[in-house]
Symmetry: C2
Subunit: 323 residues, 2 copies
C-alpha cells in the first residue's frame, strides 16, 4: 500500500501485543478506553498502584502516534481496525464535525456498496457517526491523532481469524488510503466535487447511523443495558432474544422481544430510546465486560452533510433506497 499511495506515509502497529500473545481481548482492561487525559498523563493509578498492561500500552501508542494533547500530533489520521462478535458487517465509525473523515467515509461507503453504494461485492458498509466532536474528550485510540477513523468488522469470534473479515477490512483500508492519496494529489475541492456528484440525489447528505438518545431517566444514550449476574458483573443475567441474533442494523419497535430470562420469560423493548430504533453491536463479546459497558448498542438512522460533517436526523422514518 505504501508503494500504491506514495503521497502517504503509512505506519502499522499492533494495538495490544501482550493480549495478542495471550489470545485474549485484553489482559487487564479494555485498551480502547485508556486514552483519556488523566490516564495518559499519570504514572500510577488512583490508588498509587502500577498501571495496567493496557494503560502502559496506551501511553506508548500515544507517544508514537500523538501526543494527543499536543497542538500538532505526529499522525494526521489514526485508523483503528476492530473486529466484533456481532454481525455488523463493515461499519465505519467517525466523529461528528470532522469534515475530512466524513468525506473519507462517504467515499468508502460508496465504493464498498451497501445501502447507498454501487459496488457488486457483498461488503455492505455502513457509517456510524458519533457525536462527541472534540477528540480530546474521547477515550479511544483513534483520538490520539488529528483525525480518527475506526473500522469495525463482524461477525468474528474472539480468538479466531476469518478470511472474509480480513478481506473486508483490507478493502476498506485500501479505499480510505485511496481517498487520502487522491486528496493529497488533487486537493480537497476536487474530492468534495467528486462526492457531491455521487451524493447529488440526496442533496449532498450521506446516510449514516448515530447513537440513540436515552428517552428515560436511568438509561444511558447509545446502549440498552442488561442486568448482570449478581455474583459476576461480567456475566449477563439474560440472553439476547434469538430474533435479534445476527441482525445488527435491524429495526425494533416498542413491544418487540429483547431479552430472555433464564426461566424462559421474555423482556420486551419498552421504548427506552424511542419508539423505533436500530440495534447495533448485538451480542458483542466486549460488551459482556462491565468496564466496557454491558448491553446492546442502539442507534437511529440519520444523515450528515458532506461539507460540514454535521448530523441531521431525517424528519420521518426515512428509508434509504438500497441502490
Amino acid at each position: 500500500l505504501q508503494e500504491k499511495y506514495p503521497s502517504l506515509e503509512i505506519k502499522t502497529l499492533l494495538g495490544n501485543p501482550e493480549a495478542h500473545l495471550q489470545n485474549k481481548r485484553f489482559v487487564d482492561q479494555d485498551l480502547n478506553r485508556q486514552f483519556s487525559e488523566d490516564k495518559l498523563l499519570r504514572n500510577v493509578d488512583e490508588e498509587g498502584m502500577p498501571l495496567t498492561v493496557e494503560e502502559l500500552r496506551a501511553q506508548e501508542l500515544n507517544e508514537i502516534l500523538g501526543p494527543k494533547f499536543h497542538v500538532a500530533p505526529q499522525t494526521d489520521v489514526v485508523v483503528d481496525l476492530h473486529s466484533t462478535t456481532s454481525n455488523m458487517g463493515l461499519c465505519i465509525i467517525i466523529p461528528e464535525g470532522d469534515v475530512v473523515m466524513a468525506q473519507a467515509a462517504a467515499y468508502v461507503l460508496h465504493a464498498c456498496g451497501g445501502e447507498h453504494g454501487t459496488c457488486d461485492v457483498d461488503t455492505t458498509a455502513r457509517i456510524l457517526m458519533h457525536s462527541i466532536p472534540d477528540r480530546k474528550l474521547r477515550p479511544t485510540l483513534s483520538s490520539t491523532g488529528l483525525h480518527g477513523f475506526t473500522i469495525e468488522v463482524g461477525p468474528v469470534p474472539q480468538g479466531v481469524l476469518r478470511h472474509d473479515a480480513v478481506e473486508k477490512t483490507q478493502r476498506s483500508v485500501d479505499l480510505l488510503l485511496e481517498f487520502l492519496h487522491k486528496r493529497n494529489e488533487y486537493g480537497s475541492e476536487a474530492m468534495l466535487q467528486e462526492l457531491q456528484e455521487i451524493y447529488g440525489d440526496t442533496s449532498g447528505r450521506v446516510p449514516c447511523y448515530r447513537s440513540a438518545k436515552a428517552k428515560r431517566e436511568g438509561e444511558i444514550s447509545g446502549k440498552i443495558r442488561w442486568p448482570s449476574d449478581p455474583d459476576n458483573p461480567n456475566f449477563p443475567n439474560v440472553l439476547i432474544h434469538k430474533s435479534l441474533q445476527d441482525r445488527d442494523f435491524h429495526k425494533i419497535k416498542r413491544g418487540d422481544p429483547l431479552f430472555v430470562n433464564y426461566d424462559g420469560s421474555y423482556v420486551n423493548y419498552e421504548g427506552s430510546h424511542g419508539e423505533q430504533v436500530y440495534l447495533i453491536f448485538v451480542n458483542e463479546g466486549g460488551y459482556y465486560y462491565e468496564s466496557s459497558g454491558t448491553g446492546i448498542g442502539v442507534a437511529v438512522k440519520a444523515e450528515y452533510d458532506l461539507e460540514t460533517a454535521t448530523l441531521h436526523e431525517p424528519l420521518a422514518e426515512y428509508e434509504y433506497s438500497s441502490s
Copy 2:
C-alpha cells in the same frame, strides 16, 4: 427435567468454574484432554510441579462422576455440553461400540431433524461417531462414566451466549433424557423396536460421520493441520479460505482451496485424507491451541448399526436423502 423424567437421577455440574469466572476457554490447559489415566492419578506433573487448574478440576470431576478406572463408576451416562465457534449446528459425538449411546443418538437425531430427521424446527442434527471404542483410552470428560454423550453446538463465539444455541442444547438434552427414561420404563427391547421402525428404510443403519483416516505419512487422522506462526504456536500462519467458512459438513475434493497464505496465495486440499472429505470444526477457536491440536476436522460419511453400534462406510459416496 428431574420431575419430567422420574426414573433418572440428574446431576448438573459446571465443567470449569474458574475459566467461567475469567470468561476464558481454559485457565492453563484444555480441560477436555485431562482425563487420561496418568493425569487423573498423579499429584504433581512430570517435572514435579503442582498440577494445573484443569488437571485438578479433572480429578475433582472424576471423583464426582467416576471414578473412571473403577469397575462401576457412579455415573451411568455423562453428558458433556460444548459450544464451538464453528458452524456445526447440533452435533452429537458418541463412541463406536456403545450400543446404548448409539441408540440414544439415533433417537435424538430423528426427533431433532436433519439429514435423516422429521422434525420441522431448524435444529439440523448430525452424529459423529469416533472409533476409540475403549473409554479408558479417551482423555475426555465423557469417558469418566459408563457411557458418554457429547453435544456440540455452534456457531458460538467464545465468551458469548447465544439464545438459539442454548435452545438447541436444551432440546437435545431433553430428547436424550426422554430416551433414557423411556428405556428405563419400557426396556431396551422396546426402544430398539421403536428405532428399527424409524430406521427401517436404511435396514437399521443410522447415518453419521466418522473421522477421516490419514492417507499419507506425516498426517494425522481426523485433522488437517495448519502451519503455525514460528513465534507463536497458537497463532496460525494461514487463514481458512472463505469458501469453507461456516460450511461445516460441506464436501471438498482434491484441488479445492483450503488455506490462504498471508501473501494472498492459496493452499489447496491435496487429498491428504481421501479424494472427497467433509470438513468439520471449521475455524474452531479451541483448535488454535497447539495443545488441543491445531487444524480443521475432517470426516467421511458413514453409518452405524443400531444393534451393534459398529461403523460401516457406505460403499460409494452415498448421499442420504434429506427427508
